[in-house]
Symmetry: C2
Subunit: 342 residues, 2 copies
DNA sequence: CGGCGTTATCGAAGCGCTTCGATTGCTTAG
DNA sequence: CTAAGCAATCGAAGCGCTTCGATAACGCCG
């Protein structure tokens, strides 16, 4: 493996000139630069990461905690970890994978040994231990997700409240006056991130303020049928459904509706809000306001990199506005019988 | 951040003594060691990764390529990446995540800059470009999965052939004489790893050598029903099913069987062979010979670490024997009508 | 009591890079 | 014609660690 020394000799210049030519931190004449570049190619030179890190006091590595609660969807996490990695590469950073068992220790270690310059925390729970840790750590930390207490933290997340409002707006504009929300498994609501709760609250608040009928159900299994029945029982005139639930539940909704003689969007309009699309052969057949890793991850990485390079001060909580993806699952509300119409 | 210098001063010894005390590479008196350890704790000392890597010429990092074909299951990959990470931590290595776009470049970069000491390649395709690259690279590479040409490579994989033989043996021993295989989506067969093909071949070969009736079907969708019908049409007396297919297909099999009045294991015995269990709320209700990341990943990491530490020479292909997990989905073959019995 | 092998510790030379200040060789103003 | 200014380059001092050979202190044998 060639070193900077070899390159310098080959190009007939000093080591420091090579360094400056490659980093661009000082001006180097075109002629010299050309000779240096030629030498690099000829010798197949690549600067040694450890030497660079030691001298420059930055490793160009970002650590990513890849949590895995028993009930979070691993495919979604993979997607996030990958998007973080892709975004990091755009800034010439690599990513270190920290597993959950080791998340706290791993964060400490990466910071203490300067293995990583900064940390991205995924799948943030409402009362996340990593929040307290982040406050103590010597390196910048950015959360993708928002814990309960954001004091002193930097967080990025989808604007779930906006997603819910957009969903309801879309349905109301299409004339729907009775809308149900299929939320998460009750356990998930307890244990996981706090967005499902935020979603439920905003749904209830905003539906009320719009003056429409509404109900929320919490499916117990991966099958949407019981949840649907629950909603229909409480909301007989329901013509709109908002989904913020586990992917399997959503996947099975179309079948459940069909089994009850209901067609999307003729009889019922459906919008999935704040769900992460799994990369399956069969995507959700509904209009979506996705919690898309491609939206939040690059923002989080940008913020972290700005922090690392001193380009910007810490920014508190950044909410990313969701983007409406139409699949034709929303249509004007069916004309109700005069009795049901309010 | 404290340096080894601070520790040495605090403990009243030379830097090298601290280094030896911490690495254990030379003997240090109990007394001195105690003072050094106390100083480390007092100063909250952690050796700087980059300095250590530069001096020792090893980074204690393993790179993992985490590819993501459109039709591979991301949750499975996450599981593999995580298991590699966990196994690596057991040897005090960290893992760097390389994404697919960047897999080739990333492998080159990690090797050239000595960012990583070694590389683990996941989701190996039959004709994987990374194979050729691995042969050129200066650092050890271990594949989890087996490409067509293994010349000069180190690979670890499940022994799929053994899994298939064990499945057939289990069914034959229970008296089944007519067994179907539900394989993969035809496209997957082309594009992905080569194990699905190996599975089909071994199934046909071994079923034949056992003298039983058999058939193979390739489901076009995520629904098992058409595949099941196909098998039943070609194998009217079928009492056993072997699964080596996508998880959604397997998940829907029980329902498809039920819809045709068939109960597991009363009417049909089912074994899933060489499938990666997804960590869903509802696991597969079948006997399984899983391609379990917890089986292959630690083996791959062990081999890589041995290679890195010069403890063992390259080992070619290592096949890991699957472990039978019973779920009660195999029972004696139903008594057939004399006509059907051969 | 001198020489020798042990054992525990020290000192110093790197590892390959970044970066600061100094130097060189010009050009231009005074 | 000299001082000043500028651009391009060089030299050397680290960054914090590992590791090799040297050294010192000690007991042991002859």
């Amino acid at each position: 493996m060639a070193t900077i020394d070899d390159v310098a000799r080959q190009a007939g210049v000093a080591i420091s000139t090579v360094s400056y030519a490659l980093s661009g931190k000082r001006k180097v004449s075109a002629d010299t630069r050309a000779r240096i570049e030629a030498a690099c190619v000829a010798l197949d030179y690549a600067p040694r990461a450890s030497a660079r890190a030691l001298a420059a006091n930055r490793s160009e590595v970002i650590a990513v905690t890849a949590p895995l609660h028993p009930d979070t969807d691993p495919s979604a996490h993979m997607a996030f970890a990958m998007e973080v990695t892709i975004a990091a590469r755009d800034h010439d950073y690599d990513t270190l994978l920290l597993v959950h068992d080791d998340a706290q220790q791993g964060m400490r270690r990466s910071a203490a040994t300067a293995l990583a310059d900064g940390i991205i925390v995924l799948d943030v729970a409402a009362h996340d231990e990593r929040a307290a840790l982040a406050r103590k750590l010597s390196c910048p930390v950015v959360f993708i997700g928002v814990p309960e207490d954001t004091e002193g933290l930097v967080c990025v997340d989808l604007d779930f409240e906006a997603a819910i409002r957009q969903s309801i707006d879309a349905l109301v504009e299409a004339g729907h006056r009775s809308v149900g929300l299929i939320s998460q498994h009750p356990e998930t609501l307890e244990r996981e991130s706090n967005y499902p709760l935020r979603v439920v609250h905003e749904f209830e608040r905003y539906a009320q303020s719009c003056g429409i009928d509404f109900a929320v159900t919490y499916p117990e299994t991966d099958d949407a049928a019981p949840a649907l029945d629950d909603l229909l029982a409480r909301l007989p005139g329901m013509t709109g459904v908002v989904l913020n639930t586990a992917n399997p539940v959503a996947q099975s909704l179309a079948a459940a509706l069909g089994a009850r003689g209901l067609t999307v969007p003729r009889d019922v309009s459906v919008i999935a809000a704040g769900m992460t699309p799994i990369m399956a052969r069969t995507p959700l057949p509904f209009d979506t306001l996705p919690l898309d890793p491609r939206l939040t991850c690059p923002v989080a990485v940008d913020i972290l990199v700005d922090l690392l390079e001193g380009k910007a001060p810490a920014r508190g909580v950044t909410l990313v506005t969701p983007i409406y993806q139409s699949q034709g699952s929303v249509a004007p509300a069916p004309v109700a019988s005069p009795l049901q119409a309010r």
